[in-house]
């Protein structure tokens, strides 16, 4: 037996199994494709906002204070990042904080407005944050500052005017009218603030349009799970066969190389057929992503090229998983769980930029994460040598480990 005849045998084997593998891959592609498209179509990501819930604990006797709070949650641009809640008692406010209904509780002490009026800085606003130091606290402090600024400038303006009018011969009625006039001018200025800027949400996910992010995530998840469609290739492979092949001179490295090639070819044919179907849908404008809206063919071809590289790596990863998990009970379930976990951390289901920093860093360097980086390069057209190098390194490493695992398997007779 030579490596060539071993390869021929494995090829024949995958050809026999291929109808089942292909059918399973089509069903799987259809299921996640339909689910993905439906999800994407029914979710307008431009309207999705991420808001913090902020609670206020204060008295509402002062009209300015009440109005300022209302501005924060409804008129000012801060409305895009906060929902405001008002509490009458300290207990209610802290309960809400502990129950995670609000992220921060702002306690405005009695006499705060009077202190503003008389430029006394002794009673300060206290801010209780539920989470750790970081973005929440800083943003909330900024919100409070905006609120304070509004109050301070308005109050200070009115106070100055009142002060200036002390020695004038104006009647109280005229003074009140002037006060009201200034107050309305402030209000108009505040109301017009929101019109100074126009916010447009492009809706980016990890540097791609949300639809492209979705597309990448679905394609990668499909690629990872595609290996499970070829699981039959691993089910009936007996260690005795590898042993006898070894005794005839087919080394573990040759065995792994030939088997991996067959496994990869099956994955390649299935996925290229699926990609072709996706291309047809793109060309018919039934689905699409912004990045491919012009020059569809060359861009899709570029994407397909990157996809094949990703497939080489992910196939080697899953091949290794199935190889090393020989002899482990529920090995396929374990492989499935590993792949799902890796997929989540790598940003297949949710933009990686939304994940906590540690998870983001881990996700970036996982083999599935590197595949994500490379495939997103296929969408954006931005080549990244580091990612490509990592992809190649992972592929070589996985195959080398698989060779070592096969050697151990043959020597110990693990089946």
């Amino acid at each position: 037996m030579s490596t060539g005849t071993y390869f021929y045998g494995q090829l024949k084997r995958i050809v026999k199994l291929f109808p089942g593998i292909f059918t399973l891959s089509l069903v799987f592609a259809l299921v996640i494709g339909v689910a993905g498209v439906l999800n994407a179509r029914h979710t307008d990501y431009n309207k999705v906002t991420s808001k913090y819930n902020i609670g206020f604990l204060c008295g509402y006797d002062d009209a300015l204070l009440s109005m300022g709070l209302q501005f924060i949650g409804s008129i000012d641009d801060t409305q895009l990042i906060v929902n405001t809640f008002q509490y009458d008692t300290e207990e209610a406010g802290f309960d809400a904080l502990h129950n995670n209904e609000i992220k921060v509780l702002v306690v405005i002490p009695d006499g705060f407005m009077d202190a503003l009026m008389y430029s006394d800085d002794s009673p300060v606003v206290k801010l209780y944050a539920a989470s750790q130091k970081g973005i929440t606290t800083v943003i909330m402090e900024e919100v409070i500052n905006i609120f304070s600024d509004d109050m301070v400038y308005t109050e200070a303006g009115l106070y100055s005017l009142q002060d200036d009018m002390k020695d004038t011969s104006l009647s109280e009625e005229e003074k009140t009218k002037l006060n009201d006039k200034l107050f309305i001018a402030y209000m108009n200025a505040l109301l017009s603030r929101g019109l100074l800027t126009e916010i447009e949400h492009i809706g980016l996910g990890d540097g791609m349009s949300f639809m492209a992010f979705f597309f990448c995530g679905i394609v990668l998840f499909y690629t990872v799970m595609l290996s499970f469609c070829s699981i039959s290739f691993f089910l009936d492979s007996h260690t005795e066969f590898f042993m006898i092949a070894r005794s005839k001179g087919v080394r573990p490295s040759s065995q792994i190389f030939t088997e991996y090639t067959c496994f990869f070819l099956a994955n390649l044919i299935c996925s290229l057929f699926t990609l072709f179907c996706v291309y047809v849908l793109f060309a018919a404008n039934m689905v699409g992503i912004e990045e491919f809206s012009v020059d569809l063919f060359p861009r899709f071809m570029r994407f397909s090229g990157y996809f094949i590289l990703v497939l080489i790596e992910l196939s080697s990863f899953t091949f290794l998983l199935f190889e090393v998990m020989k002899g482990i009970i529920n090995k396929f379930l374990l492989s499935f769980l590993v792949l799902i976990g890796f997929s989540f951390l790598s940003g297949y289901f949710y933009p990686r930029s939304f994940l906590p920093e540690t998870a983001r860093t881990i996700g970036e360097y996982l083999p599935t994460g590197v595949a994500y980086n490379v495939l997103s390069s296929g969408v954006t057209g931005v080549f990244n040598a580091k990612n490509m190098l990592m992809l190649i390194t992972y592929t070589v490493l996985f195959l080398l480990i698989a060779v070592y695992a096969r050697r151990v398997r043959i020597e110990r007779g693990i089946d």
Binding site: D236, E240, I244, S247, E411, G413, D415
Partner: protein, 222 residues
């Protein structure tokens, strides 16, 4: 033809499984390796087959150390493991095609060892539809593709019915008559009685044993 196994050693961690194992045989002989489960019989066969690397020792076939000269080992030694080293999704013919050239396969099926093993009767049957006996015969058929001079068998007829055993024994007999050397790791009394020389492997040491149809004696010695 002469074979000589000299001072084979094999250690798994702290456990020394084979301690200077040595024996020799001439063409037409059958060597039986006996011992209780886990004593190292399969390890010895695996080392001789080149699957496991021994820590020391030689396996000489006509003065060539086939543990070092892989090419000669592939030509002259065949190994049949305990299980069924064949591809389940393929037919018997497809499996044999991996091991034999087209002409050679035809010849063997018509009048060679494959005929003796009776493989020609189930050539187009898929392996996953075969009985254990058919699988075993096919395994032997695949292993002997190179017309070997030394055949290493690890419990070759375990779990086979009498008819299948008969086919395997017929082949083994023919193999010996053609000057081949058999090395069997076995528990089977009939196979033991077939052997021209028997060895007991106990705590890593191989010692010669003469089987005189006394099971009690064999049991006590194991």
């Amino acid at each position: 033809m002469q074979i000589s196994v000299n001072d084979i050693k094999k250690r798994y961690g702290r456990k020394e499984v084979l301690k200077n194992v040595s024996f020799s045989a001439s063409g037409g002989e059958c060597i039986g390796i006996l011992g209780k489960n886990g004593c190292g019989k399969s390890t010895l066969i695996s080392v001789l087959a080149g699957i496991l690397r021994g820590d020391a020792g030689q396996f000489l076939i006509d003065e060539n150390d086939v543990l070092k000269e892989e090419r000669i080992r592939h030509e002259k030694v065949a190994y049949v493991p305990q299980g069924t080293p064949i591809i389940e999704e393929l037919s018997a013919k497809d499996n044999l095609s991996m091991w034999y050239g087209q002409d050679d396969l035809k010849k063997q099926l018509e009048s060679g060892f494959l005929k003796v093993l009776g493989i020609d009767s189930f050539l187009n049957v898929m392996v996953n539809k075969m009985s254990l006996g058919m699988k075993k015969r096919l395994s032997i058929g695949c292993a002997i593709n190179n017309n070997p001079k030394v055949l290493l068998l690890d419990e070759p007829t375990a779990a086979l019915d009498l008819k299948c055993k008969e086919a395997v024994y017929a082949y083994l007999k023919a193999f010996r008559e053609n000057g081949g050397i058999l090395i069997l790791a076995t528990h089977d009394i009939y196979e033991i009685s077939m052997c021209s020389k028997c060895y007991l492997l106990k705590e890593g040491i191989l010692e010669e044993y003469t089987y005189n149809n006394d099971m009690t004696d064999l049991m006590n010695r194991l």
